[in-house]
């Protein structure tokens, strides 16, 4: 589904990601772990074309994402929920979802499916996004990305700042999407939350891919966490 081969990228004059490789299959959850500044968000942005890869290839279902215009990447079937949610704060819940539906050319059935996953959003359709709680905002950001019916979902710290019940809801949603065959690339600081749902874990350090292993292996060898991220 997604194949990164020796991808490097960064910001003007500063290389952040250095020859990172990764593969992710349909219905698989891959989690990226690393300290702050390791390059996790940079990797997400590079996949989405927000940052140009200076080297390497990013292949998604046979399409080289580095060769197409960034705004066409979502149309390939990739949803991205950035850190901090980035909602259209002055628009209502309904309008935020509508923007997502229009982008993917999806119908009301998709919207109803999304509202079925997040019933609380259905109760707040006319409410402006900036008046929602943190958990509801995360639901809306996730719901809007799901309006595209993505085959691959990139989630950047989805549980950041959320209360435990919301974290559980987000985790359950991710698991449900996995069951539906959606591939998920997850950046998360909460290692406990990750280990319970991930299939594979990748450690990033100083922009370099230090290790990739199965989540089961990591669960059996907790010392690895201390080695790479100090917990």
């Amino acid at each position: 589904m997604l194949e990164l081969t020796s991808v490097s990228s960064g910001y003007a004059g500063a290389q952040v990601l250095r020859e990172v490789s990764l593969s992710l299959n349909a219905g698989e959850i891959v989690c990226i772990l690393g300290r702050n500044g390791a390059g996790k968000t940079t990797m997400m942005k590079t996949i989405m074309g927000l940052l140009k890869a200076s080297q390497g290839q990013i292949i998604f279902n046979g399409t080289d994402l580095t060769a197409i215009a960034p705004h066409k990447i979502a149309g390939c079937g990739i949803g991205y929920i950035p850190q901090g949610r980035r909602l259209f704060s002055e628009l209502t819940v309904a309008e935020n979802l509508e923007i997502g539906l229009m982008a993917g050319g999806k119908s009301a059935a998709t919207r109803d499916k999304v509202l079925g996953m997040f019933p609380r959003l259905a109760e707040r359709l006319d409410q402006r996004a900036n008046t929602l709680s943190g958990g509801e905002q995360q639901m809306l950001a996730t719901g809007r990305a799901l309006c595209l019916e993505p085959q691959l979902l990139l989630l950047d710290e989805p549980t950041e700042g959320l209360q435990p019940s919301m974290i559980a809801l987000i985790r359950d949603t991710v698991v449900e999407l996995k069951k539906q065959g959606v591939g998920i690339l997850l950046v998360e600081q909460r290692v406990d939350a990750v280990l319970s749902i991930a299939d594979k874990v990748m450690f990033l350090e100083n922009g370099m891919n230090r290790d990739v292993m199965s989540a089961d292996h990591l669960r059996d060898n907790p010392d690895i966490l201390k080695k790479y991220i100090g917990v």
Partner: protein, 320 residues
């Protein structure tokens, strides 16, 4: 449920604006001649502000060069009438075409920048346009400008120099621009414009071609400004370089901020307020801009979303 709620709000908003158009129609029978003339002028200038609002209020792009588009329409209308002897009908088409071409060209180049750079580039283009008008003074009559004769300002059999006809022509133009704005805001394109204003990067990530949408917004905004410029030349019989000066690029920004950026009615209310603020204060003192400035500062401090913006926030959240 989303569609039902959206339509209800859209309909309420439409009725509200249709009510305003009806009130403006009735006002012509009540107002004294002086205010009758003022209101016709305000409605035309409000169309200019509505054009500006499409770009600034709904798309979030702050231009400092809109006088160039207003002047493009004004000269696109006036020059063929004065020098080529065209009647108002083809001259109006010429003004619209000039507006589309100028805004498409300037938008294409200026949108290679963003933020402060976009403001500076649009300002520079407008200054270049202003100097071009002065340079070709033989045809444009520069600062002095030129008059379009009363006898030539007849369109579809209506003498537009006659106050009632002029008022109703301004009202028709105002109604078209207002209803077009409302239609635009509720359209798919309008939603994307607002999404760009709210979060450009996110809109991009959802798969929208942000650059194309911004370019289209510049063209729509510039063309509406050009249409207002053409109407001004036709209804008031004058075209001059003053309308291409930087002052006329700042005016629509002030009108929109005062009335409420991103509201359909804000540009009209802002223009009305500013027009009468200057008109009234200038009858008391020669330092009338000081009073206008003070009023602007107070409004910005206490009504940051503008008059209509605050009204919408506190009273009628469904207003477009």
């Amino acid at each position: 449920m989303i569609e039902k709620t959206g339509m209800t709000d859209a309909r309420k908003s439409l009725y509200f604006h249709l009510g305003l158009i009806g009130a403006l129609f009735i006002l012509q029978f009540i107002l004294p001649a002086y205010h009758h003339g003022n209101l016709a002028r305000i409605m035309v200038l409000a169309c200019y502000a509505m054009g500006y609002n499409i770009l600034f209020g709904y798309t979030g792009l702050l231009s400092l060069g809109h006088a160039m588009f207003f002047a493009a329409g004004m000269y696109g209308m006036g020059l063929p009438m004065v020098h080529l002897g065209w009647t108002p009908e083809p001259a109006l088409i010429s003004a619209i075409v000039v507006g589309v071409v100028v805004s498409a060209g300037i938008g294409f180049l200026a949108l290679r920048t963003s933020g402060v750079s976009f403001m500076i580039v649009t300002l520079m283009f407008a200054q270049a346009g202003f100097l071009t008008i002065l340079y070709f003074g033989e045809w444009t009559r520069g600062d002095e400008g030129f008059v379009i004769k009363q006898a030539e300002r007849v369109m579809a059999g209506f003498d537009l120099s006659q106050p009632t006809n002029r008022y109703n022509a301004a009202l028709i133009l105002f109604s078209i621009c207002l209803l077009l704005t409302i239609r635009l805001v509720h359209s798919r394109f309008g939603r994307v414009m607002i999404a760009i204003r709210e979060n450009e990067e996110r809109t991009h990530m959802l798969g929208y071609d942000v650059h194309f949408h911004k370019w289209m917004a510049v063209i729509m905004s510039g063309t509406m400004a050009a249409l207002a410029g053409a109407a001004y030349a036709l209804l008031f019989g004058y075209a001059g370089a003053t309308f291409a000066s930087v002052q006329y690029s700042i005016f629509p920004l002030l009108w929109v901020l005062l009335g409420g950026a991103g509201t359909a009615l804000g540009p009209f209310i802002g223009t009305l307020f500013m027009f009468y603020l200057i008109d009234l204060s200038s009858s008391f003192t020669t330092a009338y801009m000081l009073i206008a400035g003070l009023a602007l500062v107070l409004l910005t401090l206490f009504l940051p979303q503008g008059l209509v913006g605050e009204f919408r926030r506190k009273v009628v959240p469904w207003l477009s």
